[in-house]
Symmetry: C2
Subunit: 351 residues, 2 copies
């Protein structure tokens, strides 16, 4: 039987479960931190144009147009500091494959993004979780070296909390670690600080970004790594030759060139986030101040799952998250003002 022929690491593992897919129609989807607004008009135009391009020809294997535009937009020394990928998921896979062998370890904080554990499982590696301290501070243990520790991953801002570890603390952790530190900045456009500077100061700091959240392009699959050029070169060996297609390269190039659009959308979403935080607090929730496009909240009555189900029955999908030995709560993505008003009204009606 073929069951015995799969790698044992694979047979043992549970697959990663992405956020629920809403039935198409009236559902208000606030569960996977998508941008509720469509991407910049320039992106749609770029896709329309690329559709008439030479799709029968292989795309640029290293997404040069995107990397040039991104280096410009982010103030990086040049395109050779960027590795483009089919979503930041692919970038994270490449990083785990690049640094962590079978039986070796990677570290992540807890609670945070459990995909990292899945990536370790696929690789036949082990993962260790360092619990956050009170107020989502990282303990010193997060920066301690261990023999088998080959990679440390820090989502910053973190999910589900939306909290941000300040840049100077990230720098200290990176300095104390012998292994690379991945700063996963999927949500960083909604925060006031990022760690790109640290990449230039320390070759062991690697930053990942995605176009799925702030740029409104979850449907497009495009992410990238920022790292020193010799690190990008080595990790490029792992990616598929043509990992990004011609259309997504065109779309991503247009997106990253639309920085004014980005500022406007982020300002709008952060304003809505502020309203959410205020109202949820007024309703009695403990609300964690967010640096991302979602809000983590816990009610003292502990009825999180029933609130999730009540909202779902009323066609509003949020994320109920329960972390063993830690607790549970609701993670609500920042939607449009109308969507959030509907969600808040339903939460008020819950009893």
């Amino acid at each position: 039987m073929i069951e015995s022929l799969f790698r044992p690491a694979l047979s043992r593992m549970q697959p990663y479960a992405p956020g629920e897919q809403a039935a198409p129609g009236k559902t208000i989807k606030l569960n996977t931190n998508e941008n509720p607004y469509p991407p910049a008009p320039e992106v749609v135009k770029a896709i329309q144009e690329a559709a008439s391009g030479p799709l029968n020809r292989y795309p640029d294997p290293v997404a040069t147009s995107f990397r040039r535009a991104a280096a410009d937009a982010l103030g990086l020394p040049g395109p050779e500091w960027i590795l483009a990928g089919n979503g930041s998921d692919e970038i994270l896979t490449i990083l785990v494959r690049g640094f962590v062998g079978e039986g070796q370890h990677l570290r992540l904080p807890y609670p945070s993004y459990i995909l990292y554990r899945t990536l370790a499982d696929i690789q036949g590696a082990a993962w260790q979780q360092t619990p956050f301290e009170n107020d989502w501070k990282l303990p010193a243990a997060f920066g301690e070296n261990e023999d088998d520790l080959r990679l440390v991953l820090l989502p910053n801002p973190n999910s589900p909390s939306g909290t941000l570890v300040p840049k100077n603390e990230v720098a200290s952790i990176a300095d104390s670690l012998d292994c690379p530190l991945i700063v996963d900045e999927a949500y960083v456009d909604f925060a006031n600080e990022n760690c790109l500077d640290l990449v230039q100061e320390n070759e062991r700091v690697l930053v990942t970004r995605t176009l799925s959240k702030s740029y409104g392009l979850a449907g497009m699959r495009f992410g990238f790594l920022v790292a020193q050029p010799h690190v990008v070169a080595e990790l490029s060996k792992i990616k598929d030759s043509y990992n990004c297609d011609a259309i997504s390269i065109a779309a991503a190039t247009a997106a990253v060139s639309s920085q004014d659009w980005l500022s406007d959308i982020v300002a709008k979403l952060n304003a809505t986030r502020g309203r959410m935080e205020t109202r949820l607090t007024e309703m009695g929730f403990a609300v964690t101040p967010s640096h991302a496009n979602f809000v983590w909240c816990q009610h003292p009555d502990g009825n999180h799952q029933s609130r999730y189900e009540y909202l779902k029955k009323n066609q509003i999908l949020v994320r109920y998250m329960s972390f063993p030995d830690w607790g549970d709560g609701l993670r609500i993505s920042v939607g449009t003002d109308d969507q959030i008003d509907a969600c808040l009204m339903m939460l008020e009606r819950f009893s």
Copy 2:
């Protein structure tokens, strides 16, 4: 230094070198087996429509529309027999990660598609090459079991030869092997036979396909696996949650639903291929009868590299391939009739 922190398997390996990118402009590109014709008009229309879709939302994680259409087109029992990927490159990566652990072996024929060796290298696995016999027949050794052998890969039709191992011989190899046999059918639409039947008969036969060649969608990155449903389910654990984007799913669905277009294009390319084979033979080349969209030819004078360079100087790019301990030759993709006429004329002028 970070150099010492990469997995040793990675530091040792050479990156895979995809076919040369032509300078844009007048170059006739006959080196990477792309389709010289644009994709079906329905594909372009599907992309245009999808561009206006909800790109801010995550795509269908399992490409349901494509898998339904492909199961229909290929006469498979249902969509659960298909795993969609970001190019068949991603499918091949998933297969190697699914079956071959560090230090274990995969087998491929020689000469054939050297990407398989790269995939083994990345995984920290070893590869073994079984040389073809005369007339591109597979020796019995190709189907022999070994302790560490975990995967056997057969490109069928093969590259660079364009030759096809008959289905009944593939079935015998699969039956004799304890490990899975991957039949890489990237070029099979240009042949008269395929191995899809065998997948239903033997759970250890897995077939990969791509839309990059016959469907004219190299720029789009879409490939898929055909395997028994329990095999698809297990391998799905390895793929990124959202490995195919909304636009490429729409494009691939439209492409695989355009079977009449496909028959016409294949007939046209195979007719051109016939002319190439005849003329090259008349010029004194030893031409291997092709079941793919390229022709492998060797001249008794052995001046393959200088012919390649002569063509390149005249803005015609073909593939010069040299296989250690075996020999060299030219692999010429089937282009449009005009492109092939230009290439043949230049080859006649060469002296």
